[in-house]
Amino acid sequence: MADLLEVQGVVAGYGESVVLEDVSFTLREGGSLALLGRNGVGKTTLLLTLMGMTRLHKGTLAWRGEPLAAVPPHHRARLGFGWVPQERGVFPSLTVDEHLEAIARPGEWTAARVYQLFPRLVERRGHFGNQLSGGEQQMLAIARALMVNPTLLLLDEPTEGLAPVVIDELVVTIRKMLASGRMAAILVEQHARLALQLTEETLVLDRGRVVHRSPSRSLLEDPGTLDRLLGVA
């Protein structure tokens, strides 16, 4: 069986400018991948490229063996990409309920199940996107992505700018989501250790290139390498 996602020699960026110099990796069905790297190395650009929102200069993307390059973003969502953008992209003029309903696709994730996962959002059902706290917005962005019933969840720095207690709550939830094993995920995180604990494999980017790939566990047990790659303790 073909891999869920296969990225081959991808060169991509914005307009004429190139951000990703040469990126290749594969992800199996149900697999989880941490995407690490310092600020500005191209992690968000890689996720946007998977969503079809950048300019692909070279290389190929394949979804279950089918080429993706010509597939527009809204079709990728329908194929099974569940995108949680870095800026969260919560809609100011939609209520929490509407965020879920407007994009819902049939599958095991229903509004009721999503609310079970994020009980905090229940009290906010009728509130508009711009009336939510940062943590609630992040939960909504994830809840919304689940409503497309994704095969692959793309999480771009979900803990960014959140208070430690909120992060803890979110991590428990993300762990629960990934534990089922039915949904694959790519997790971009600044908190490297957190990401390593949550995922099977890790990819480290530097200036648009993959500079390291290994099981997350082995990187977790090798602080020296982690430090060298990311400059974190």
């Binding site: 969502a77 809609f91 003029s93 407007a102 994009i103």
Partner: protein, 288 residues
């Protein structure tokens, strides 16, 4: 002087209703795609001529002619969006302005060629003619009918936008087209449907407005400024904002022409300057 006020207000509201009906499509187009469609008034004109042809040439009842006007303008809008407008999305505002002003002049030339340059007559059904008395004010029955239709449509639109799934998709696309697309919303299709609906409403407004605004080939140019004012003052992409702006402009235009006829259109331009200084982003900004 003041004894005329209720009548002036009433006529202003009727006039504002028409401005709303014609401008709402423009407002949504601008809010949704940042697309500047100066030719929007041409769709209103198409509806007007469709109504004239339907009633005078084919003898259809006025009510049926209104439906025809909506349908013809909607189809014209839908087709042009597909074959022409779509190419202009994301282009510079200058390209969009030049293209749509060109389209406006083409529509004027085409209308002159087909219908001649004269004002078109309209035959209203007898039941809509004459005056009636409400709260001691004499009001034209046709204007009353106009206001009723537009308020019904505005309520319907507001329900569509605020209560339906399609409405939520429109709002999501207006808020953030990229994220909406990334979540599976076909923003292009949302836009096509909205553009078609907006053109149809403009056509309906053009037909309903023959008796109030008149109808000749210069219509799209003559009223362009009014439609743009409504959208700019109301805030692109908002139904309530567009309605408020249309009412304010309608009332002040009618009142200005009645009380200070020597000032001409100056009244509403002064009003626009004042409103834009007070609400630089429009009375209401978002689609609600």
């Amino acid at each position: 002087m003041l004894s005329a006020l209720p009548g002036v207000l009433f006529d202003g509201v009727a006039y504002g209703s028409l401005l709303f009906l014609i401008s709402i499509g423009l407002s949504v187009t601008l809010g949704l795609m940042n697309f500047i469609n100066l030719a929007h008034g041409a769709f209103a004109m198409v509806g007007g001529y469709a109504c004239v042809v339907a009633t005078l040439r084919y003898g259809l009842p006025f009510g049926v002619a209104l439906v025809v006007a909506f349908a013809v303008a909607a189809i014209a809008g839908g087709v042009l969006e597909r074959v022409l407008y779509r190419r202009l999305y994301g282009r510079s505002p200058l390209d969009q302005v030049l293209f749509t002003i060109g389209l406006t002049f083409m529509s004027i030339a085409a209308a002159t060629w087909v219908f001649g340059s004269g004002q078109q007559p309209v035959r209203l059904p007898d039941t809509l003619l004459g005056q009636t008395r409400i709260l001691g004010v004499d009001v034209g029955i046709y204007r009353l009918f106009l206001i009723a239709i537009v308020f019904a449509l505005a309520s319907g639109l507001a329900l569509l936008v605020t209560r339906t799934r399609f409405g939520a998709r429109i709002r999501a696309s207006v808020d953030d087209a990229r994220t909406a697309a990334g979540l599976g919303i076909d923003v292009e299709r949302v836009f096509s449907v909205t553009f078609t609906l907006g053109s149809g409403l403009a056509g309906l407004g053009g037909a309903l407005g023959i008796d109030v605004l008149g109808l000749d080939p210069t219509f799209p140019l003559k009223y362009m400024v009014y439609f743009l004012l409504v959208v700019v003052v109301g805030g692109a992409g908002t139904i309530v904002g567009t309605l408020c702006a249309a009412m304010v402009l309608g009332i002040f235009d009618v009142a200005g022409k009645y009380y200070v006829p020597w000032a001409g259109a100056f009244v509403i331009y002064a009003l626009m300057v004042a409103l834009l200084l007070l609400f630089p982003r429009g009375l209401l900004r978002r689609i609600r």
